[in-house]
């Protein structure tokens, strides 16, 4: 996504695409504002390009922790009633959602 210096980094098409991936619908003025915002953020982050990272392993986690497990032991689940409380719609013990066919 990061192109040559000085040029626009983010286009409205990029924002439209990201919005569609995130299932967000945007009005035209929101689209324009978000494109500017993202542009500013990426310009700010571009500072990082000045750092020489050739000899540094990519970082996936910042916590000094590894190998955190749980034993394979059962714990009580929610009751169905409790689980379904968060359902916007339900039907015979199922969560009911608008029809989706992939």
């Amino acid at each position: 996504m990061i192109k040559t210096k000085g040029s626009k980094i983010v286009t409205q098409d990029d924002v439209r695409y990201i919005a569609s991936l995130s299932r967000i619908s945007l009005r035209d003025e929101e689209m324009a504002r978000l494109t500017r915002n993202l542009e500013d953020i990426l310009h700010y982050v571009r500072k990082l390009e000045e750092v020489d990272v050739r000899h540094i392993e990519p970082t996936s986690h910042v916590l000094p922790l590894k190998n955190v497990y749980r034993e394979d032991r059962m714990r009580p689940s929610l009751t169905r009633e409790d689980a379904l409380q968060i359902a916007v719609q339900q039907h015979e013990g199922f969560f009911k959602v608008p029809k989706v066919i992939q």
Partner: protein, 483 residues
């Protein structure tokens, strides 16, 4: 499609197998990992993806995955991490699936399948990773809604991906058979396609024979059995051949196998490329597995079916066919070996297991360990048959009685009076009687018609209710009439 066209093209197949691991609990929470409960009865805030919850990896899920990976000759990677695969679908409550992208559990493995003239072919396993299963969606016919059951959400899934090394639907079928058998020996999954604990997607392309470049592939889904995988691949191979022959191009797409029509059908989804925006899962720390732990798991792997097959061929001199049948179930293989140790007649033992024993197992839908037959009892029956104490018929009867009552073979033979009469004193008087009653036939034998001896043996057997030893009877009759 004619032979020439089929030979013009080479088929290239790669398989992705998803395997549910049979841990007690889900991969990232303590909900039960059980199939078939009423909907949404085993869910909790973690697997429902409620805000503020954190996943914690089930140690046993990782151990099972490593065990399977090691059995598939994979290298366990020194640095393992999880990643988020982002997409929206209602069976995925979080809006992402916790999976693994660039640091999977294992890679660079292989599985052997049978090749021509008794050789084997190695199918390379590219990678094996752990992820969480999604929920189950039911599309409510005739309404505008779908129903979701999140019981399956968070079931530990292992994905095993091959390189495009397979060259025919038969090789794909053999790979799946061997994979399933190996995994069943490890006891890490039920591998039941009907229950969805083993699922398989296939990538297939064709190219002109000799072309080093791969053709455009299609991805096949929705196959419910190994036979369906084979049939779908065969259909797709012909479809692609016909398309290329008539100058069309193959479109890269996902196609669903329609079992009823026996055809693959394009999903015709909006052809926007998937963009999962993988990134490291911040809620799970990375894993670095100690060599000692890997060694312990490696040592826990039993002798695998391919090794057992080779050993049975050389150690017991079993035929290809016999050895194959004996290793199809680890418990059957162990039963066979226990018998062979007690009574070194492997071929005879093999025949008894393949015949009566497996028939009983299938008829009762039972498992070897549920049977009342033990290696001791079975070898007693075989030995007594060899020693002519039991006739073949009496042996079968003894077998049935042991299966039904659980009494020992000796007890059954004794109580049912199954032992043959070999006492020549008793048998001689029976022979005398039979010759007297069948003077005409006896006369023919005296004149040299030796084939009639069998008739007199039969008569004598009837007189003794089948308990006489027919071999001794035959000898006695011959001695009496031909000497």
């Amino acid at each position: 499609m004619n032979q020439v066209v089929q030979q013009k093209y080479e088929t290239v197949i790669g398989l992705e197998v998803h395997l549910q691991l049979k841990t007690e609990t889900k991969i990232f929470c303590g909900c039960a990992n059980v199939f078939g409960r009423e909907p949404n009865a085993q869910v909790c805030p973690v697997c429902l993806g409620l805000p503020g919850t954190l996943p914690v990896l089930n140690k046993k899920a990782l151990a099972y995955a490593m065990k399977a990976a090691l059995a598939l000759n994979c290298q366990i990677n020194s640095f393992i991490k999880f990643d988020r695969k982002n997409y929206y679908y209602p069976d995925l409550p979080k809006g992402y699936q916790i999976s693994q992208y660039d640091n999977p559990i294992a890679s660079h493995g292989y599985l052997e399948i049978p090749a021509e003239d008794g050789r084997v072919k190695r199918i390379t396993i590219k990678r094996a990773h752990l992820e969480e299963d999604a929920g189950k969606l039911i599309h409510d016919e005739g309404t505008n809604s779908s129903l979701v059951d999140y019981n399956r959400t968070g079931t530990p899934l292992m994905e095993i991906v091959t390189e495009p090394d397979l060259r025919s639907s038969q090789e794909a079928y053999d790979y799946l058979q061997n994979l399933k058998l190996t995994l069943q020996y490890l006891n890490v999954s039920d591998c039941d396609m009907e229950k969805g604990s083993l699922r398989c997607d296939a990538n297939i392309s064709i190219r002109e024979t000799g072309d080093p470049c791969l053709g455009t592939k299609t991805e096949l889904k929705n196959m419910n059995s190994f036979k369906a995988v084979k049939a779908a691949l065969e259909f797709e191979e012909r479809r692609q051949q016909k398309a290329l022959e008539s100058g069309e191009r193959i479109v890269q797409e996902t196609r669903l196998w329609d079992e009823g029509r026996g055809a693959t059908v394009s999903m015709r989804s909006k052809e926007e490329a998937h963009d999962y925006r993988y990134f490291p899962e911040p809620d799970l720390v990375p894993f670095v597995v100690d060599e000692g732990v890997i060694d312990t798991i490696r040592r826990s792997i039993p002798e695998l079916p391919q090794q057992k097959y080779k050993r049975f061929r050389s150690e017991y001199k079993l035929s290809d066919y016999d050895a194959n049948i004996m290793v199809q179930d680890a418990d059957v293989a162990n039963f066979f070996e226990a018998c062979a140790r007690l009574y070194p007649q492997p071929k005879k033992i093999c025949n008894w297991i393949q015949g009566p024993l497996l028939q009983e197992l299938n008829a009762r839908k039972a498992h070897v360990r549920d049977l009342r037959m033990t290696p001791e009892y079975l070898t007693t029956i075989i030995r007594k048959t060899d020693e002519n104490v039991l006739s073949n018929l009496a042996a079968k009867e003894a077998f049935q009685h042991v299966m039904e009552t659980g009494k020992s073979a000796d007890e059954v033979i004794e109580q049912k009076g199954l032992a043959q009469v070999s006492d020549s004193g008793i048998l001689e008087s029976v022979v005398e009687e039979v010759i007297r009653d069948n003077e005409k036939v006896a006369g023919q034998i005296r004149e040299g018609k030796e084939s009639a001896v069998g008739f007199l043996v039969g008569q004598a057997m009837r007189k003794t209710q089948g308990k006489a030893n027919p071999k001794i009877l035959g000898e006695l009759i011959r001695r009496r009439l031909l000497a």
